[in-house]
Symmetry: C2
Subunit: 400 residues, 2 copies
DNA sequence: AGAGTTACGTCAATGTCTGTAACAAATTCG
DNA sequence: CGAATTTGTTACAGACATTGACGTAACTCT
């Protein structure tokens, strides 16, 4: 009856010393500043973190010296007494660089510590992989220069790619681009330094996460570009799966014995809700920006397009019901191109969710367009790059 | 000599003081002992944790005094020198209590620190909810008494329930039992103290996780009892979702326009792969242990049953493909009753996974029966209760 | 203008952990 | 039997964060 036991997810595998204690409290305090909706004073920090005022003073000094935060003017707190000095994130200093490969364009984005987009550029996408990567390197260098001009230092770069990515570097499979096993991280390393590569749908979800005003914590963001991908955020963290290949929603079966898909399976969501498939009946010659074309056709009352949108919404709802039954989230964001088409899709999605999600009667799932829309992935990529500093400012302080 | 660089501990929301430092290092050391395949000496602990020998000595003293570990006899390490003293988990001290409500029976289980099952009992399930809970309370008390007789103290209790659970206490919906919104934690609190309630499929996955010999880290365990549930383990942690309602695989659509299910939707997996549905064509009068009945019928070559099993395997494969496309895991365990039927199901499941999982060609998904089978949920429940002590021994030490 | 109030900084005292180094124990080998 | 070797313990010093008390700054109200 003896059963051996083996290790499970540990808290941390490293020993801690006094030094790490200090680093931890510093990072804790910094995260409070990051998360505060408005400039926050030292006293408020002391209350929020549970640390004492002298400790906060010391930590704040360190953050100020490192250029990570700035003091705002004094702000009234109560009626009398010395006003509090607001502390907020510095608009200069570290920044994150994001790159995105979309069907219709390449884009680059720089965000600062506060999450503000400081630079956003687009360029056409060359057909060949090598040209695409070279162009991205150029855009990255240009973005870094633009950042430097505003006293920003790029501390990390993330590339969003439309397909499953392995080891944060190799794009396994990207049908739109015709890529297979492209080591994008290696190709960009020379020009841009270390580059993390991640799935675009996941990064779009991260973008929406960081940008969400009443912070979302559990949601899925469906990005409908060429491929349909889902970025799943649980407890404020992106779900990457065992090998980072989560979120291939496009190849979830809606009808097991449906029509054959390019992937070899049958009845995939892609077939019902892919942009090309929605557009096809009305305009066989694909337009450069299919989502816009679909929106125009639908607005003009085109029956084929409206019918296709209805099918797409229903199919999306079926696949999302599977997703939510499998992993419970309370919000669906229609992202990427779908954000432009949300008004045509939401109804069908909601209908299926209400029918099919087992727990819908206790806690209805909210469906809405993603605020950042098609730019969410670049912005998310840049934010994920800067977020390493936001979560652990010590790396930046150690550098200086 | 250069001092090793130590990364900050994790993103916790609490401040750390010297005291927590001590607690962290103690818990780190203890987890090493837990994870070691054989008794481990102080020196080995020092190497494994990165702490110094004096520190290890102090921590080990504390663990010995607290009764969490015991010294084994000296063991040869090299040829000469003082032999190492092996340290291993104490077979007495804290224990976890698990309870499970199954269709066919109630069960209770006690595991000790080492993960060994020390007590396992079954009882018939009364039809009414109140009776069921009263019986469970009795079984829990009996198990606690049995544990005490072996010098074990139950430090936590977990109840596995067949349905979505809210706030670790309220069973929202359990069709087999006819339960809706039953506050099981409250009902058992008086007899057993604080009880955590969780979904049975998730706990079964945890059971398989803790018991897996070459440790699994990313897998899904499908439990087919009355309801089909999936427990998803990612990086050694159970995925619970926003409200703990993850894993309702039974109501994932296999064919969107399929037959109507009891839940109100159409084409649910439950309809194709539920035990009752597999059994129905051959033996309309449900046997007490459907899985056994199915196995016997199939072994005897019953055509209807074989056909039903084929349909079930295929449907399971479709739903699991959706799951794996959505969240990437590399292993599927056929658990619960399915473990008994694995030989009839595996082929169909594998076929569909290979067709439908987008990344199957790079990394095939392994499908196999779950070693613990139908008892995984109780054992997992008990293990999850004791695991709190294993992950953080300080709670136990503080008590004494 | 002065009292009252709140915010923030500084200093010494305290406690606790780690690391180094010397020391004690237990066993093998010549 | 004693030297060598490895394991485990004790003693001391160094480092660092927290606490608490006191002092200073800034602003409002009377």
């Amino acid at each position: 009856m003896t059963r051996p036991v083996h290790r499970v997810a540990p808290a941390t595998d490293t020993p801690v010393r006094q030094e790490s204690l200090r680093a931890h409290n510093l990072s804790l305090t910094f995260r409070q500043i990051v998360g505060a909706p408005a400039p926050i004073s030292r006293i408020e920090l002391a209350v929020a973190t549970g640390l004492t005022r002298p400790t906060i003073t010391r930590i704040v000094d360190e953050l100020l010296a490192g250029g990570l935060i700035v003091e705002a003017g004094p702000a009234r707190s109560g009626n009398s007494g010395r006003p509090r000095v607001g502390l907020s994130l510095a608009p200069t200093g570290p920044a994150g660089l994001g790159l995105d490969i979309r069907v219709d364009a390449l884009s680059a984005c720089v965000v600062d510590l506060t999450g503000t987009v400081r630079h956003l550029a687009f360029a056409p996408r060359p057909p060949a992989a090598a040209d695409t990567l070279a162009r991205l390197a150029d855009m990255g260098r240009a973005a870094m220069a633009a950042a430097a001009a505003e006293k920003l230092t790029v501390v990390g770069t993330t590339l969003a790619a439309p397909g499953p990515v392995e080891n944060a570097g190799v794009v396994r499979f990207a049908p739109v681009l015709g890529w297979r096993d492209v080591d994008a991280a290696a190709a960009l390393r020379h020009a841009l330094g270390e580059v993390m590569v991640d799935n675009d749908a996941g990064l779009a979800a991260l973008g929406e996460l960081y940008a969400s005003a009443p912070a979302l914590r559990n949601f899925v963001c469906v990005s409908g570009e060429f491929d349909i991908g889902a970025g799943i955020v649980l407890e404020g963290a992106l779900l990457r799966g065992a090998r980072g290949w989560s979120g291939s929603l496009g190849h979830v079966a809606v009808t097991a014995d449906g029509p054959v898909c390019a992937c070899g399976a049958t009845g995939c969501l892609q077939h019902y809700a892919g942009l090309q498939q929605i557009l096809a009946p009305a305009a066989p010659a694909a337009a450069p920006a299919p989502a816009v074309a679909i929106d125009i056709l639908a607005s003009s009352g085109d029956r084929d397009t409206l019918a296709a949108l209805d099918r797409a919404g229903t199919a999306l709802g079926v696949a999302l019901s599977a997703l939510i039954n499998i992993i419970d989230v309370d919000t669906v964001l229609l992202g990427g191109s779908y954000s432009l088409l949300a008004s045509w899709l939401t109804e069908g999605v909601e209908r299926e969710l209400n029918r099919r999600v087992l727990t819908a009667s206790w806690a209805p799932v909210s469906v809405r367009p993603a605020p950042l829309g098609p730019d969410a992935a670049v912005i998310g990529a840049a934010l994920s790059a800067i977020d390493r500093v936001r979560q652990d400012p010590n790396s930046w302080l150690a550098r200086a």
